[in-house]
């Protein structure tokens, strides 16, 4: 077969027409996912069974099933129900874009809440005891001591999750969306050059992943200023 390097770089500009959608999926579902994650985390560590139980079930379901299956269930499965089609959310749920956002957000929420929980559990008990001894309330202590330390502890795993999300957005192409992978598939159908086109898509994903990694690396260094001094 003939491998055309020219086609790899030549198709990048076309690929970039899907970049906007990929980034929208990524940013929107990361944000909603983070909000869900914080709510789930607070439920999970509340110590009240009626809050803990739903959080645990939610995490279990969304970590235990493939995102692709979740997208299919939401996109193909939900419209089977009459009450969904007549419900207030139908204008959203009939759009593949919002189905993807929903699936990706729910997925991110489950994963990220566990990442954050790891961070919270990693905070030294001593600092919290010192806060109690000073008369600082549990809530204040959580806000001013646990949270900032837990965020820093969670960052490496969180950046990893955002990179996973970047790649998971490619699944949007399976429900007719023209994100980067969707665009790539369209071009492949026209040019019959799967190698070059998908490699060109892969390059752009790698650039995004690289930027995410660098960005979080900078954030991590900034937030770790207080530790660097010792070692």
């Amino acid at each position: 077969m003939i491998f055309e390097f020219g086609l790899i770089f030549g198709s990048i500009p076309k690929m970039l027409t899907g970049l906007g959608l990929t980034l929208q999926l990524l940013l929107l579902s990361s944000f909603i996912g983070l909000v869900l994650a914080v709510i789930t985390l607070l439920m999970r560590i509340s110590g009240r069974w009626f809050l803990v139980a739903p959080a645990v079930v939610y995490i279990y379901i969304f970590r235990g099933t493939p995102i692709l299956v979740q997208i299919f269930v939401i996109y193909y499965g939900l419209p089977q129900f009459e009450f969904i089609r007549e419900g207030v959310f139908w204008p959203f749920l009939r759009e593949p874009f919002w189905c993807c956002i929903l699936a990706l957000s729910l997925n991110a929420g489950a994963y990220v809440s566990e990442i954050l929980r790891g961070g919270v559990l990693g905070v030294d008990k001593g600092a919290q005891e010192a806060a109690s001894a000073l008369g600082i309330s549990k809530t204040q202590s959580f806000i001013y001591i646990t949270t900032p330390i837990a965020i820093r502890l969670s960052l490496p795993a969180y950046s990893n999750d955002i990179i996973s999300m970047t790649k998971a957005t490619a699944l949007a192409s399976t429900v007719t969306l023209l994100d980067m992978t969707g665009v790539a598939r369209t071009i492949v159908a026209q040019t019959f050059a799967p190698y070059e086109i998908f490699i060109s898509a892969a390059i752009i994903y790698m650039v995004i992943a690289w930027m995410v990694q660098k960005g979080f690396g900078m954030l991590e260094r900034r937030m770790s200023r207080y530790i660097k001094a010792t070692r």
């Binding site: 600092a127 005891e129 000073l134 008369g135 900032p148 207080y226």
Partner: protein
């Protein structure tokens, strides 16, 4: 008048960790201005006892009354007690993500509702008192162990407590840093601070304490002024302990 009314009273305090009885009928009365050193083998309940005094541990039976507030489940009482009691821990327990000065001002701002400039002023005053005013804008990890422990002492003092509890404040320190912390504690004692100090520093106990309490197996076995405690220990267990720690 107030000198007759003790600031801390422990009456028949018992505390269990699961099936293990950590404190057995502990009785202790602390007058204002008293300087009590608590010693004893590890696992004897020393830390548990002082941690009960500010409710970092809950006692299971008996009564603990601090500055007129009995410690119960009532959050109001716990808050009231913690306002009167400062604590210094073995492992410093500074807030690692905050600069030294912010370690000192956090509780002032959150608990005492002191404004920022005033909080900073108070913090600076106490950092001077523990001889490290120039470290205010560093992070705890940039300081030596001795300096960190002095920050911890200053942080507790900022809240203007009536009583200071020290839980083995020098046990985690390198030998050359112990004296800088003990010096600060001695100065505090000289200024009339009421303190209860768990420590193995017998030199400090001898020179600063007005009472030494010896604990073993969750009980206060003996409590006496230093001269009597070191020269004429009454209990066999005390004698054994002293022979072990003073033998070299």
């Amino acid at each position: 008048m107030s000198e007759e009314k003790p600031i801390i009273v422990l009456e028949n305090v018992c505390k269990y960790f699961g099936n293990f009885k950590a404190l057995t009928d502990v009785n202790l009365t602390v007058q204002k201005g008293a300087r009590i050193v608590v010693c004893g083998p590890s696992g004897s309940g020393k830390s548990t006892m002082i941690r009960c005094i500010n409710r970092l541990e809950e006692h299971d039976s008996g009564r603990i009354i601090v500055a007129g507030n009995e410690l119960t489940d009532a959050v109001k009482n716990i808050d009231a007690v913690r306002r009167e009691v400062g604590m210094v821990f073995q492992s410093f327990n500074l807030f690692p993500h905050l600069k030294v000065v912010d370690n000192l001002t956090l509780a002032l701002k959150l608990v005492r509702k002191v404004g920022k400039p005033e909080a900073r002023e108070i913090a600076t005053r106490y950092l001077e008192r523990v001889h490290i005013p120039d470290q205010a804008d560093k992070y705890p990890s940039q300081l030596s162990g001795g300096q960190q422990q002095r920050v911890a002492i200053a942080r507790a003092l900022c809240m203007n407590p009536e009583v200071m509890l020290f839980d083995e404040p020098t046990s985690a320190l390198d030998p050359e840093m112990i004296s800088e912390v003990l010096d600060v504690m001695t100065e505090l004692a000289e200024e009339g601070m009421t303190m209860i100090c768990v420590t193995h520093e017998m030199g400090f106990a001898r020179s600063v304490a007005d009472q030494i309490a010896f604990m073993d197996a969750g009980e206060i076995v003996e409590i006496a002024p230093p001269s009597e405690f070191f020269q004429n220990p009454r209990s066999e267990r005390t004698k054994l302990f002293l022979s072990q720690i003073l033998s070299h």
